[in-house]
């Protein structure tokens, strides 16, 4: 299949992946044989829930009364005025229970895991937001929970580590590699392959072997579906552009997907450029990587000539990943979405701008999206509409930000 064809050969960009789990040349199922039968079982179980209205009802109940959905679409008046261009709206995913979009996906997958009769959950986490969300639902349903987290991230996201422990999860620091998200992902996969009989691997982003990228996207698409309805109510039309930060790409995929077939809506993914796209210290997999195979899927990866995966760098633990979800790789190659970078410094500036003008302390991950929105808004006409996904709140990041601003807490 060429990269420009739509996945299922239909004329919708929303019908992917194909039956091999591919988006164009990306995606697939590159895992050890031990896991292949489990992925087949997972896919069958997932398809059954898709066809089951009772599952949808159950999920909707938890999304409304536990997660706190729908999340508001906020018109950022002061930021709009200060930037002097496009009207900026913020999708307030930071208001979800546990403080980020991560719970949307986790809620869906935990209900699936329960239907599959699993009693133990393993997950990887970077910033700790996915780990906290996972530990939270494990507490809610009384399930055993092990969270793998890179040792570097354990250090820079202490509040979340403590939170996970309070919630009853075992937090396992991973010292392999640079001790960040990619290493945690490896270790979570090793746990899963060892404990296949009772364990469910709860992937936190739109990456990994099929059907994870599709499934996580579907559970996160509630963000875009609500946004569509809310912007129609507020403005009577679709936005001109949607901007979201890209780690693995789940909050972005969630807000993009319902708009894929609306070509008038520009979709912009903001990767972490770290110290600069050409500094060698970046996490911009699409902009500076090449297609390759890692963690069960083919996608853009930061790697050297020999195919060894290189360490990513970002001020934000949640974006510090050398890969990206395969659907983003495909959207990039067919030109439906655009991928750009924001540096550590851009994110720090945007973190403060958002806090000062809107009274919203965003996660450093989300600050990357705000940074790019703030960059393009002034050049857009005043009647243009820009939606930024505020994927999480920034309480977890105040230590990092204080340190960078030279403030001792």
């Amino acid at each position: 299949m060429s990269a420009t064809q739509t996945p299922a050969g239909t004329n919708s960009l929303r019908s992917g992946p194909d039956n091999r789990g591919r988006f164009g040349i990306f995606g697939g199922r590159f895992v050890a044989e031990t896991l292949m039968p489990l992925l087949a079982e997972l896919e069958t179980a997932y398809r059954a829930t898709q066809a089951d209205p009772a599952f949808r009802r159950e999920l909707d109940y938890y999304l409304k009364d536990y997660v706190g959905r729908p999340s508001p679409l906020w018109f950022a008046r002061r930021m709009t005025e200060e930037l002097g261009g496009a009207r900026i709206y913020m999708k307030r995913e930071e208001l979800n229970h546990t403080g980020s979009h991560k719970l949307n996906n986790v809620m869906g997958q935990i209900l699936l895991a329960r239907r599959m009769g699993r009693t133990r959950i393993v997950a990887e986490t970077g910033a700790g937001q996915h780990g906290v969300a996972t530990a939270t639902v494990c507490a809610l349903f009384g399930m055993k929970c092990a969270i793998y987290m890179g040792a570097t991230d354990v250090e820079r996201q202490k509040p979340n580590v403590f939170r996970m422990k309070l919630l009853g999860a075992e937090v396992v620091p991973v010292t392999a590699g640079a001790g960040t998200l990619k290493d945690a992902m490896n270790e979570a996969m090793r746990d899963w392959v060892t404990n296949v009989h009772d364990t469910y691997f709860l992937v936190g982003t739109v990456a990994g072997p099929h059907p994870y990228p599709e499934m996580v996207r579907d559970f996160q698409s509630v963000i875009g579906e609500e946004t569509k309805q809310q912007i129609m109510e507020a403005e009577g039309r679709l936005p001109d552009a949607i901007v979201a930060a890209i780690g693995g790409g789940s909050n972005a995929m969630g807000i993009f997907h319902p708009f894929l077939d609306d070509p008038e809506v520009k979709l912009i993914g903001v990767e972490a450029a770290g110290c600069g796209l050409d500094s060698g210290l970046t996490a911009a997999s699409i902009e500076r990587g090449r297609p390759g195979v890692l963690h069960g899927n083919r996608t853009y990866l930061m790697q050297d000539e020999d195919g060894q995966i290189t360490e990513a760098h970002s001020i934000s633990a949640g974006l510090d990943y050398p890969g990206v979800g395969p659907e983003h790789s495909w959207l990039n190659d067919i030109g439906r979405a655009e991928y750009v970078g924001a540096t550590d410094q851009d994110a720090l500036d945007a973190f403060q701008l958002c806090t000062r003008t809107e009274g919203i302390i965003p996660a450093l991950e989300s600050a990357h999206a705000i940074a790019y929105a703030a960059k393009i808004a002034p050049d857009m006409a005043k009647d243009k509409i820009l939606v930024v996904n505020i994927s999480g709140r920034g309480d977890k990041d105040i230590f990092t930000v204080a340190e960078r601003l030279g403030v001792k807490l």
Partner: protein, 274 residues
């Protein structure tokens, strides 16, 4: 007939099982790993697996992870690995060499060029841990054209109805991952093995090797009582690790210690009459 098929045919003729040791390329440096590789046939290796270091060996336990990192630090690259096999082939035209690794370094090298170059260097077969049958079109054509065997992994979780999928396109031998888990951790019980093997035999005529968790001569002998070959990796890498100096460099004990352990394993395997 491929080197692998020839070797298994001759072993069968002599009523013997095979020992397949593993050496990680460039662990801890090129010369040491080449010396180990060269010494292996004399110490009783019937076939040899050469590990291709990868930064993210997600199906491997701590021992092979560390070996892979040492290999990368020791200057490994796909080019270096093939160079090492070529150097080995200068002195040994009989012992089959199987490369074991992950998809990405092969994809980065270019699958077609890789298969051609690997064959030229003297490689006989490939085990690609994260390339299941469903994704094998990446390598199947180029490997067949170059005359490389594709060794398929089969696991305890593989259901009977999936065995034909796994074995279609398999050649050389079949690698039974005897536990659900990563390398170098748990060991399958004799009972578990006795149950698993008939199931596999029904589905394939290829020789069957057992790997994962075989760390002693006794366990290796047990494995070849039911299967055709035993693969030993982590146990040898652990031994290698204990001989390194404080900076992780090889010492005069490194090569002899690994080969001596290998001899003990091989003697036990070869004492089993089949």
């Amino acid at each position: 007939m491929s080197r692998i098929a020839r070797r298994f045919a001759s072993l069968r003729q002599h009523g013997r099982g095979a020992l397949i040791p593993y050496v990680e390329a460039c662990d801890p440096d090129y010369d040491t790993s080449l010396a180990i590789l060269r010494g292996m046939p004399g110490a009783g290796a019937d076939l040899i697996e050469v590990g291709v270091p990868f930064s993210d060996p997600s199906a491997d336990g701590p021992t092979i992870q560390k070996a892979a990192l040492r290999g990368l630090k020791g200057g490994s690259s796909m080019k270096r690995v093939l160079e090492m096999v070529r150097a080995f082939r200068e002195g040994d035209d009989e012992t089959p060499i199987i490369l074991m690794g992950y998809t990405n370094p092969i994809e980065a090298y270019g699958p077609e060029r890789f298969c051609v170059d690997a064959r030229k260097a003297g490689v006989d077969g490939l085990i690609v841990v994260d390339l299941p049958p469903e994704e094998s079109d990446l390598l199947a054509g180029p490997a067949a054209a170059a005359g490389l065997d594709i060794i398929r992994l089969v696991a305890p979780t593989t259901p009977d109805e999936r065995l034909p999928v796994v074995f279609s396109g398999a050649s050389g031998f079949v690698y039974y991952v005897s536990i659900t888990g990563v390398t170098g951790t748990r060991t399958a019980s004799t009972d578990e093995l006795a149950q698993a093997l008939p199931r596999l035999r029904k589905a394939t005529d290829l020789p069957i090797a057992i790997g994962f968790g075989i760390r002693t001569p006794e366990l290796a002998a047990n494995a070849v009582r039911v299967a055709d070959a035993a693969v030993v990796a982590s146990a040898l890498l652990n031994t290698l690790e204990t001989t390194l100096d404080e900076e992780g460099k090889a010492t005069s004990r490194t090569v002899p210690a690994v080969l001596e352990q290998l001899r003990g394993l091989a003697d036990a395997v070869h004492a089993v009459k089949k």
